[in-house]
Symmetry: C2
Subunit: 297 residues, 2 copies
């Protein structure tokens, strides 16, 4: 197929529709994945990304984002960015720097301001209300208390594969926390000669197995996208259970250079996909005996 795009969670459906329209018209993969991320970043009803994202321990919204260009392996990433509209587009700009492609904390905001990126207070009344309620309960962090990352991997008509991700990170995170999303090889990867991948879930777990890089490596070794995504997720899941007795939620999407998708997940995980000749669909991936089954919604 000439183009394809995959995105994480139900919230990626609209983004996949926008990306598909761009790709169908001949637009490039970078434009498509950024359009997907922007759709999530600007929607206050998605509580784990951009505007209205989940606040940290102190009630502030800090965003993480990344972009990788599979033609050059160049990437940009920001972590702990406060007060800007689009971490994924700032990451896209950072990929063109000769060095300092990954910026965290106030340094990321300084870069964004110097480069004229739109500033925005991402704290919403609704986001703050959820935060206040949870804060009062003072409960310990549990899996998936709002750390869903919106991720897109797309392949365009020129054969370029790009990946972009955006998230407010772990709900109630500590100030300065860096999750997997802005971490190359963990939260995102792309190589146009192979394909692309991106992860969502408990970042502290995902970083223990470089999931996005591994999925791409396995595709390069000849595995199908489904085989690669499953092997990456389940190998780490088994290893962590073997070593520590448990493994927290992790989900991985990937796309090969032909545009075929793969998903591996150890929890119920909706995702969206579109390709040439196939309208955007929302699908559900669910774990079954160390494999992943895909079904319609």
């Amino acid at each position: 197929m000439k183009w394809a795009v995959i995105g994480t969670w139900k919230m990626a459906y609209d983004g996949v529709c926008k990306a598909a329209e761009i790709l169908e018209k001949g637009g490039i993969a970078a434009e498509a994945v950024l359009a997907g991320c922007s759709d999530g970043e600007d929607n206050p009803n998605y509580h784990s990304v951009g505007l209205g994202g989940r606040p940290d321990r102190n009630g502030r919204v800090f965003l993480d984002g990344a972009f990788m260009d599979g033609d050059t392996l160049r990437f940009g990433a920001v972590a702990g960015l406060e007060g800007f509209r689009s971490p994924s587009r700032i990451a896209y700009a950072l990929k063109d720097e000769d060095a300092n492609n990954f910026l965290a904390g106030p340094g990321a905001a300084i870069y964004a301001r110097a480069h004229g990126f739109e500033e925005r207070d991402n704290v919403t009344a609704e986001g703050l209300a959820i935060w206040q309620k949870e804060k009062d309960r003072l409960r310990s962090l549990s899996a998936y208390d709002g750390h869903d990352t919106i991720c897109f991997t797309a392949k365009d008509r020129h054969g370029t594969v790009c990946t972009a991700v955006s998230t407010s990170g772990l709900f109630m995170k500590e100030y300065g926390r860096v999750g997997d999303s802005p971490v190359a090889g963990c939260g995102f990867y792309a190589d146009s000669l192979i394909g692309g991948a991106a992860a969502t879930g408990m970042g502290e777990e995902i970083m223990k197995g470089s999931l996005s890089f591994l999925a791409c490596h396995l595709m390069e070794e000849g595995k199908s996208p489904m085989e690669a995504a499953n092997e990456a997720v389940w190998r780490l899941d088994r290893r962590l259970r073997q070593k520590t007795g448990s493994c927290r939620p992790m989900s991985l999407i990937c796309l090969d250079k032909e545009g075929n998708y793969g998903v591996g997940t150890n929890i119920l995980f909706p995702f969206a996909y579109a390709c040439e000749g196939q309208k955007p669909v929302l699908l559900i991936a669910e774990p079954a005996d160390g494999k992943t089954i895909i079904r319609n919604v």
Copy 2:
């Protein structure tokens, strides 16, 4: 062999001696790799680590460090930490947190202060003099202008493999820059069922290929440490040259679970190694036709 330890650069020699002494006496791998990093962090003559580390663009010294425990895959990491003695030991403490194991910027300093870690101004007169001189030249960043990370991977008598790394990062880096060192799978990795690995060099390049994770993955697939380290480095080197025409310096050390070492590098790279029955030695790795040759100093 019952124990082994490897460290990056000539500056790791003293640290390898200290680590070897600990391991020989039955000490654990964590203690050994942290002793190695501390040796580097406390020596003002090593200009890319800890005290006297290379300042950033604004003349401030920000440190990165990480620790990974191969028994559990738990890791801790700090990036952009200012004003503390030992980033590697703070990373070691962070590995025991339930989440928020990777902290960057002021958040890392808040954690370190709250946990009673020793504060220290790492800016030295000598470090500042070098900075002033370079600043005046305003030249563009070139490879290896002081971004040598001190890294140690050790295996102890119990079969535990740990990796720890410490660096002041890229000389003249921008405020907030995160290199490969605190990034899991890129700058460091350890799994006692496989071995451990760590990287030094141009972090922005190393992060394009998750080098430390890949070396461990290849060892798990049956490659020797030398084969694994070489395949990881040269695969990325070739890919970057193919895609962009160049690849900046990268060096990778690894250790398998038996204690055998491997090194892959695309530049001249000294390293230190010791194991049961073999006194610490300083060796030189040099690239030759897409392979790495090891020779005595």
